[in-house]
Subunit: 103 residues, 2 copies
């Protein structure tokens, strides 16, 4: 499985951030045909080390090929444009992609 | 579902970091009876925003009660002690806990 992980810091304008995320980014992202699971976590609590992020979004695909196909689709390109706007509202947003396997 | 997410920066001594993680932390963490999935991702690639972390570890439980029960178990307490050592080898490690639901 392959995951896109997006870590959001506290936005300057939380209302505008959540509105754009919920009403524009999430619906577009969910249209990508290869998405296996899409989760958003808003109540992030600290654990052993460092500060928690404000919000965590995770999208899973079967494999890297499926992710790439979706990123190049019209839905994926539209989602990326709108996701960039949301990231700009949350300074220090970090996103990354990785394969994950059970240990 | 509830997830413990641990985000590691590049360790000062990668060999010692991976050795302690693989040989001590992971085996202890896997012994916690409520763990549903435990994944470690080492080949983390950048995406749209910011820098990727060096390594991502994720442990999933059915719910917060299961997580708390495991954290209070002998296996959980031992894993926490050893996990703290690994975090110290990776300055800026951030860990957090959240419930995740599909959107």
């Amino acid at each position: 499985m392959v995951r896109l992980l997006v870590l959001y810091n506290k936005p300057n304008d939380a209302e505008a951030f959540h509105k754009h995320f919920d009403e524009v980014v999430a619906p577009l992202a969910k249209k990508m045909p290869g998405v296996r699971r899409y989760t958003v976590s808003r109540d992030v609590m600290p654990s052993q080390s460092g500060e928690p992020y404000y919000m965590v979004a995770e999208i899973d695909w079967d494999d890297m090929e499926s992710l790439k196909r979706d990123f190049e689709s019209p839905e994926g390109k539209a989602a990326a444009v709108e996701a960039a706007k949301v990231s700009e509202m949350s300074p220090g947003t970090r996103s990354m992609i990785y394969e994950f396997v059970e240990v």
